[in-house]
C-alpha cells in the first residue's frame, strides 16, 4: 500500500467569532466557518465536492443529519461525499482522516470539515423571571437515572474521578495542573481570537478560582463557546496552487481503548500514535510543537504521558517549570487551547496547528514549526485521533 504521507494538505482555515456570540444558529456558524475557509483558500462553494460535519451538543437530534442541513443551507449541489460524524473530541481529527482517505481514493477532491455549536444563550434581562433554582425537579432531563439520585452529574465529574486517581497514584498536584492552565493562558495572550486574550492568569489566581467539582477548579475546565471552525482538505498538488501555504498531513491514526479508563488512566493515544508516526516516518523527538485536546488541564498532562513525552505518572513534573509555556522547550496549545481560547472540540487544536505550520502565529509563532502533533480525545479517554501536520512535504 502506498503511504498517504503528504499526499493531502489542509488548504483553508475558517474561524468564526468565538464565545459569547449570539444570533447565528449552529448551522449558521457552520456555514460561516466554511465560507471563511473557502475564502482563505481562494476557493468557491462550487469547488467543494465533500462535506463532513461534526455537530456540537446544541444541534441535538438534528445533528444526525447535520451534513445534509449544511449542504441545503449553502445550496451545494452534487457533492460526492458527506457525513455527520461523532466520536466526541476525536471527531475533528477523524473527519480530516476521512477526507484524506476519500481524496486519495478518488471519492472526492475538495472536502470541507466543520465543527459548530451554539450552546450559549444571551443573558436574560435582569427583571426576567424563570430559569434555574425555582422549578420542579421534573424539569431536569437527567432526573430519573440512578447516578442522579447520588448527585453525580456532568462530564466534569467523570474527569475529576480520573484526576483524583492520577493524584493518588502518582502524587500529581494542583500546582502542576495549574501550570498547564497558566501556560495556556500565557499563550492565549498572543491570540487575538482567544476568549481570554487580554486576561492573563497567575498560579495564585488559578488556586483561588472556585471549585467546580473537586479536584477541579473552574480554571481546570475548558471554556464553552458559540462558533464554528472549518478546514478545507485537498490533494497536496492542488493545495500548492491555492492561496495559502499548504499544511501537509504527514501521518494520522486513531485509538479507541475500550475498558475502564479509571483503572488504566490511559487514552487511545498510544495506539493512534503508532499508526500516525509509522505513516509519517517520524519519531516523537521530531515533534516541535503540540496542539493537544484539553477539555481539562488533566487531559493535557495525561496525553503528554500517553504519547511518551514522559513516563506514565510523570506528567506533573514534566509540565512544571514552564516547559510547555511560551519560551519553553515544548510549546503546547500555542493559541491558548480550549482552556483559554475557545472550545470548538477537536477543531481548536487543528486550527491552531494550521496557523503555526503556515507561520501565521504572529507574536505566538513557535520557533520551529516543522512537525506539529495534534490530538483529539473524546468521551472519557474513550476515543482518540492523531494528526501529524507539517509545512514540509518531505
Amino acid at each position: 500500500m502506498a503511504s498517504l504521507r503528504a499526499k493531502t494538505a489542509i488548504a483553508g482555515l475558517g474561524i468564526t467569532e468565538q464565545g459569547k456570540v449570539y444570533g447565528p444558529s449552529a448551522t449558521g456558524f457552520a456555514v460561516e466557518a466554511i465560507r471563511l475557509a473557502l475564502e482563505d483558500a481562494g476557493l468557491a462553494g462550487s469547488d467543494l465536492d465533500g462535506l463532513l460535519v461534526n455537530p456540537g451538543m446544541s444541534w441535538g437530534e438534528s445533528g444526525a443529519m447535520a451534513s445534509f442541513a449544511v449542504q441545503q443551507a449553502m445550496g451545494l449541489r452534487d457533492l460526492r461525499l458527506t457525513a455527520a460524524m461523532n466520536l466526541g473530541g476525536a471527531t475533528a481529527g477523524a473527519m480530516i482522516q476521512q477526507a484524506v482517505l476519500a481524496i486519495d481514493a478518488g471519492l472526492a477532491s475538495v472536502v470541507a470539515c466543520v465543527f459548530s455549536d451554539a450552546p450559549l444563550k444571551p443573558p436574560k434581562p435582569k427583571d426576567a423571571k424563570g430559569g434555574g433554582g425555582s422549578g420542579s425537579s421534573g424539569a431536569y432531563a437527567f432526573a430519573g437515572g440512578l447516578n442522579a439520585a447520588y448527585g453525580a452529574f456532568g462530564v466534569n465529574a467523570l474527569y475529576a474521578l480520573l484526576t483524583q486517581r492520577h493524584m493518588h497514584r502518582f502524587g500529581t498536584t494542583h500546582d502542576q495542573l495549574g501550570a498547564i492552565a497558566v501556560a495556556e493562558r500565557a499563550w492565549a495572550q498572543g491570540n487575538p481570537q482567544a476568549q481570554f486574550a487580554g486576561t492573563p492568569l497567575t498560579i495564585e489566581q488559578y488556586h483561588a478560582s472556585r471549585w467546580v467539582v473537586e479536584p477541579f477548579h473552574l480554571l481546570d475546565c475548558c471554556l464553552v463557546s458559540n462558533g464554528g471552525l472549518a478546514v478545507i482538505v485537498t490533494s497536496a498538488e492542488r493545495a500548492r496552487s491555492l492561496r495559502q501555504p499548504p499544511v501537509y498531513v504527514l501521518g494520522m491514526g486513531q485509538g479507541h481503548p475500550g475498558g475502564d479508563p479509571l483503572e488504566t488512566l490511559t487514552s487511545g493515544a498510544p495506539v493512534a500514535a503508532k499508526t500516525a508516526f509509522g505513516m509519517a516516518g517520524a519519531a516523537l523527538s521530531d515533534v516541535t510543537f503540540c496542539e493537544l485536546y484539553d477539555c481539562y488541564t488533566f487531559t493535557v498532562l495525561n496525553t503528554l504521558e500517553d504519547y511518551g513525552f514522559c513516563a506514565k505518572g510523570e506528567g506533573g513534573p514534566f509540565v512544571a517549570g514552564g516547559r510547555i509555556a511560551p519560551g519553553g522547550a515544548l510549546p503546547v496549545n500555542t493559541g491558548g487551547g480550549q482552556l483559554s481560547s475557545f472550545y470548538m472540540w477537536g477543531m481548536t487544536p487543528i486550527g491552531e496547528a494550521v496557523i503555526q505550520c503556515r507561520g501565521q502565529g504572529g507574536t505566538r509563532q513557535v520557533p520551529r514549526n516543522d512537525l506539529g502533533l495534534v490530538s483529539g480525545n473524546g468521551g472519557v479517554l474513550s476515543t482518540h485521533a492523531t494528526l501529524l501536520l507539517s509545512p514540509h512535504a518531505s
Binding site: 425537579s137 430519573g144 442522579a148 465529574a157 474521578l161 493518588h168
Partner: protein, 136 residues
C-alpha cells in the same frame, strides 16, 4: 424557601431487582449466567462473552473507595443545601465498581483506599438507595 426533593431514580424493569434487594437491605449486582462474570451497573450484554442471560446475586457490600470527588456545582436544586458533597466510586471486594455517596465520613477522612461497607437509605416508599460508610 420550600425544600426541593432530590431526583428519584425511575424503577425501570432493568433496575427493579436492584431496588427490591435494596429495600431488603441487600446489595446485588448482575452475574452473567453464561461466564459468571459480575457486572454493575446492569447491562443488556456481558462484555466478555456477549451473553444476554444474567441473574442478580448478592455481594458482601464491603469494598474500598476507588475514586471520589466533591461536587460543588448545583446541577439540581435538591442538592443545593448539601454542596459540596462527596460522590464515590467503590470497588467492591467481589470486583465491580459502584457509584454512590459516602455517609458518616469526615472530609479529612475520605481518601482513595478507605475501607467502606454498604448502608441503606430510604429515599421514598419505593426507592432505597445503597450508600457506603467507613468500616472498621
Amino acid at each position: 424557601m420550600e425544600a426541593i426533593a432530590k431526583p428519584l431514580p425511575r424503577v425501570t424493569p432493568e433496575l427493579a431487582p436492584f431496588f427490591e434487594a435494596a429495600k431488603a437491605r441487600k446489595l446485588v449486582v448482575q452475574r452473567c449466567a453464561s461466564c459468571g462474570r459480575l457486572r454493575f451497573p446492569p447491562r443488556e450484554l456481558c462484555s466478555h462473552c456477549w451473553s444476554r442471560d444474567a441473574e442478580w446475586v448478592p455481594v458482601s457490600g464491603r469494598g474500598e473507595v476507588f475514586s471520589f470527588y466533591w461536587m460543588h456545582q448545583i446541577y439540581h436544586p435538591g442538592f443545593a443545601a448539601e454542596v459540596p458533597y462527596p460522590v464515590v466510586i467503590v470497588a467492591l471486594e467481589e470486583g465491580p465498581h459502584v457509584l454512590s455517596n459516602i455517609v458518616g465520613c469526615a472530609r479529612e477522612q475520605l481518601r482513595i483506599g478507605l475501607p467502606v461497607e454498604v448502608t441503606f437509605e430510604d429515599a421514598s416508599d419505593e426507592v432505597t438507595l445503597p450508600k457506603f460508610r467507613p468500616r472498621g
